[in-house]
């Protein structure tokens, strides 16, 4: 298996996605990881991110971050709603039978049922709200990790293309480019250290994403200059 193919599936592999477990792909990835130190280091990095993300407590994210994933969550909700819709047809028959049935209750019976309903609704709502915020936060974390992975993959692709041509560049341009890249890399390293020290700091996660974006953009600009 080639590094490129493994890197595409690595995120799913680390997440233990069922799409990989069915075929030989899982075994092929494992074989490749055993022999390729570069991909293995990427796998370790992904595991670290996953572990760090799991340890994050529930917090209100900064609005800029939140806005970014709101659309994604809404789309997921729409997809789930679309999947649920056909079931309503099944219940239509039952509902018809229930409405045509005649119920007779005494007043104490009705009061008891009402009280029980209020308790059940309250418990359900409270429980659902807790689960919901936890679910949203997990989604936020996974969205951030996905964004980081996407950026990293694009950076790797661009970097490989630049490495091929870099030898022909003007030495002064090359030195300047490498200086810029090193400065960004240093900042990413520092950011990662800060994140290790305080893994719950979502601002650091945002900062890390900004730095990856800076690096990606630098590579894109250099490609456009056609050195």
């Amino acid at each position: 298996m080639e590094c490129r193919t493994v890197r595409i599936s690595l995120s799913d592999y680390v997440d233990g996605q069922p799409s990989l477990s069915g075929g030989n792909e899982m075994r092929n990835i494992e074989d490749h990881l055993a022999s390729c130190p570069s991909c293995r280091s990427l796998q370790l990095e992904l595991n670290e991110i996953k572990t760090a993300a799991r340890e994050l407590p529930l917090r209100t994210p900064p609005r800029a971050l939140w806005t970014r994933i709101v659309n994604e969550i809404e789309i997921e909700h729409l997809v789930v709603a679309a999947e649920v819709q056909p079931v309503s047809g099944l219940w239509a028959g039952l509902w018809g039978r229930l409405t045509s049935f005649r119920f007779t209750f005494s007043l104490p019976q009705m009061a008891g049922v009402a009280a029980l309903a209020v308790v059940l609704i309250t418990v359900t709502v409270l429980n659902f709200r807790g689960q919901n915020s936890e679910m949203d936060f997990t989604r936020l974390q996974s969205a951030l990790i996905r964004e980081e992975m996407t950026k990293k993959a694009e950076i790797d692709r661009k970097m490989a293309a630049i490495e091929e041509r870099k030898a022909n560049w003007d030495p002064a341009f090359r030195a300047d480019f490498e200086r810029q890249l090193n400065r960004i890399e240093e900042s990413i390293k520092q950011c990662r250290k800060n994140l290790e020290a305080s893994p719950n700091d979502l601002n650091q996660v945002q900062r890390m994403l900004d730095l990856y974006e800076e690096k990606r953009q630098l590579l894109e600009d250099v490609e456009r200059l056609k050195w």
Partner: protein, 261 residues
Amino acid sequence: MFEWMKAGSSPWGPPASAPVRLFFIGSLFLTVSPLLILLGMPLAAQAQPFTRSFHIAPGTGEVEVINQIGTIRIISTDTRSDRISVHAKRLSGDSRINSLQNSSGKVIIEVGGRGTVEIEVVVPAVARLDLLTYKGNIEVSNHIGQIRARIVSDGDIFFTGLRSTNVEGHSHYGNVHFSGVPVNQGDYRFKSFAGRLDVKFPSNADFKLSAATHQGGLDLGDFPLKYDHQMSDIVEAVSGAGRSKVYLWTQEGQIRLHRLL
């Protein structure tokens, strides 16, 4: 000097006759003159300004400028103008300037090779601009159309008197200056890795701010901001109803947001 010629003698041998002297001078002239012409050609080409003009549909226009080293200056004119004009000057080096208009009407100006070139483009104020230089300043004033300006290494960006709804400015080492009105529903993104972001809005500007700096500090002047999120280096705040979005990011530089006087 050249006394040996007058005296009818050669410094390398016995005295030469008149035809021999004439032949010698003629050969010298024929050898040296082409050399002088060849040496002078690049200097002449360097000094020669580059000028092109393109026809566009009135009220439209799209320009992409890619320079290596040197200033890019945009002069915005009448929104109904049907011309985009390019004026470039080679200041040093052996750069090549190319300009073309593609099938969709977009004008592309590209500098190749090494050397400093100053580019000035006259565009209708509504034109869409995509400007990139490795080193050098970018200046855009009184423009209305969408702008993307990027400096890969060192150089400052100057945006003055803009009324654009979408402006992006980025310089790696240099500063980004913006003074103008943030338009309703507008999107303004200014970034610099090591430089300063200097933004000036009118006192009644209506915007939602997201600003982050790692080392340089934040100076948000005296805008009546309502803070959603406030730390020493990250701020999310609203001025007015927050009708436009302003995003400022610098890793090492300072962020300054002040009232336009």
